[in-house]
Symmetry: C2
Subunit: 261 residues, 2 copies
DNA sequence: GCTTATGGTTCATTATTTGAACCTCAGCTT
DNA sequence: AAGCTGAGGTTCAAATAATGAACCATAAGC
């Protein structure tokens, strides 16, 4: 892997930790030599992507991404457009609603709205959603070109719960269902006791760019309810697509994403 | 310079452009070989930091920074804390108020609130504020250790307007004034016709981490008014410091930033 | 159909990255 | 207090990855 790739992976690893981390730990987590890890950290720090705490000497994500993100969002306001839809959906469904975006080959959670009740599913911003085991992943894959589905199903598929479907044939069945009805259902595929429904946000060319998902405790969710959630997710996702790409078209800056083949 | 540094500089350059840019242009802007620039772009794209438009083949900032920024903001909610203060100040002053943060050796604008009137100063999110020529830069420097002031004044100081002070001796005078009264004034130092006042947001150890600045058209701003703005900027900046670091202290995660020496 | 752009690729040369071993310091144990 | 342990940080010869001149492919303009 290139040096840049390794450094960005380090940054990614750092971003997934709950708290600041020391040199030795981050080196181990990234399978890097201590000296190498340090050089990466120093370099990333120079550019503001990493910060080192003056007291503890531990490292954390810096503020450079905040600047970049604000520029990105000013030009391609995905969150600004999407969040109101997510909020509305969280209120009407009274369950946790989260929004994911495809980026860097993965589907990552970029926004979460919690409903105002104590018993709810929690999802963390930044968490990565496996394609085969989450409603979002399935909804995303179902609307991808066959080639990408094949690629995703050829990788080893982790079994997160007793209910995780890991047989590629069965997953293809789920994807067909999803494509047919417009939303996916994950029945405890990622975490026991959780059921979710998700629908893809799509670019004008049909490509999915992210997903809207509703996650609810299995115990209080009927089959009817989850299908209702799915239908609502479709409405929200389509609303986001239309508002985001609709206004973009007017300004003539269609943000089509080119994928690596 | 290290490969990582070069790649991050490319990312930075890309972020400062108003629109998507082609391979040849970005290579030229970064003084890189086309082949090298392309390898960087591909690598950055793999990790979501860069996106390539499918139609135009041009490149732009990707969505990975959005994810990182949300994680950073969830843990160190500088913007979440600061923005309400900036908003209030923009309303009460009826002028443009912007917030900057020190990161990667530079002071960058991270938030702007415009007042509801047509004739106002515009400031772009992401713009870099030179230390010697802006109110924010002076306010930041004035509260830095002498060593860092020396370092900043040893670099070549660009003359942006006829009024830009570039004599290190005179700048030291401005810094002393700033330190004494708690806020800085830039009289057309960066852009003709603009006067601004700024105050630093400071960490518990006294180190500045960013600035609150008010920018107004010179034509309608009296000496009394700019001093009033300065006083208000101090109130806002101190309010941000207290709220940000006050709550941090409770959770025991003081985010002291270690600077490169 | 030629010219001149563009984006993209190749591969021998070159410079950078790498990591085992090292240093220094702080806290802990005996 | 001496000795140990593990932390962060540094060095420099060896190994590897980055580099860029020259290249190809394609599209637009004349």
């Amino acid at each position: 892997m290139s040096t840049i790739g390794k450094a960005l992976s380090l940054l990614d690893t750092l971003s997934r930790l709950d708290k600041d981390v020391g040199l030795t730990d981050i080196a181990r987590l990234c399978s890097l030599d201590k000296a190498t890890a340090r050089r990466f950290l120093v370099e990333l720090e120079k550019h503001g992507f990493v910060e080192q705490d003056a007291d503890s000497r531990r490292y954390r994500i810096g503020s450079a991404p905040v600047r970049l993100a604000r520029i990105r969002e000013a030009r391609y306001p995905f969150l600004r457009v999407a969040v109101p839809f997510i909020k509305t959906l969280a209120e009407s469904s009274a369950e946790t609603v989260h929004l994911s975006e495809f980026s860097g080959g993965r589907l990552s959670t970029i926004h979460v709205e919690d409903p105002p009740r104590a018993h709810r599913i929690t999802v963390d911003v930044g968490s990565v959603l496996p394609f085969h085991a989450t409603a979002s992943g399935l909804a995303f894959l179902a609307f991808c070109p066959p080639k990408e589905i094949d690629a995703a199903l050829q990788k080893p598929l982790e079994k997160f719960t007793d209910n995780t479907v890991v047989d590629p044939k069965l997953i293809r069945g789920l994807l067909d269902e999803t494509a047919a009805r417009g939303f996916s259902i994950s029945h405890q595929g990622f975490e026991a006791g959780v059921i979710s429904a998700a629908a893809p946000v799509r670019a004008p060319d049909g490509r999915p760019v992210g997903c809207v998902a509703i996650a609810a405790p299995l115990s209080r969710t009927t089959k009817t309810a989850i299908h209702e959630f799915g239908a609502q997710a479709i409405v929200a996702a389509d609303g986001i697509s239309e508002k985001y790409y609709g206004s973009e078209r007017l300004t003539g800056t269609s943000p089509n994403i080119r994928r690596r083949d």
